[in-house]
Point group: C2
């Protein structure tokens, strides 16, 4: 676990400048669902219903909207299933894989944050290397 007291001391100009790229990132992949959908698709293509089961809590309507938006922005694409014709699946685009570092950092932080909140140390934290190993 990282030293929690590591300080980041940027310049004021640096901070103002950082709000731009951060804003761009949050605009594209912010919100409650997009990163979860991407992680769910990392283990392989999925049909709409499979995806909805894996991303717990998402409604069909919201999932449908998110997927449309993610198609437009080149994060996912619709493909025909390799096993059954006329069955549509969702596949991650190559571009989604550029989010590797973001997902690694968020998962690691989430693990650390849960330990802080629950006040216990998870003996074996399997993230993020094992999940995101190539």
């Amino acid at each position: 676990m990282k030293d929690q007291t590591t300080k980041i001391i940027p310049t004021p100009e640096g901070c103002t400048a950082a709000l731009g790229p951060l804003g761009d990132a949050l605009y594209a992949i912010g919100g409650k669902w997009k990163l979860k959908i991407i992680i769910a698709l990392m283990s392989g293509n999925k049909r709409f219903n499979e995806l909805q089961r894996q991303v717990t809590g998402i409604s069909a309507k919201v999932l449908s909207n998110e997927l449309k938006e993610m198609e437009l922005n080149d994060f996912v694409k619709k493909v025909t299933s390799a096993t059954a014709k006329e069955v549509t699946e969702y596949e991650l685009s190559d571009y989604s894989h550029t989010l590797r570092d973001v997902l690694t950092a968020l998962s690691a932080w989430g693990t650390m944050h849960r330990q802080k909140i629950t006040g216990r140390t998870v003996e074996q934290a399997p993230y993020p290397e094992s999940i995101l190993s190539r």
Copy 2:
């Protein structure tokens, strides 16, 4: 710039497991504003009005709610200004600095994403090292 076609091939179990920490992270720091508020406070303590000016687009009501939530969750704290008594400022807690890797990864991805969207290469991308240098 990173190779955009780098593939992440995790196991299905890894993906399911990753949704937990990612969900924890998004629950704590997801949404439109929290990370922006944290970046804005990195250059130093700020009064409410200064903060609202820097985080463009946020309303006073939303900023107030976000700050309350962030205080409860140990990301910011209220302090008395060093220069003027009876003036309250917001300060980043040590815990916010554990988000260093997340902010670095998001800023770097945001920079890359903007280049993709605008189709041009920024000659000098000052993020994230210069911003987040200690």
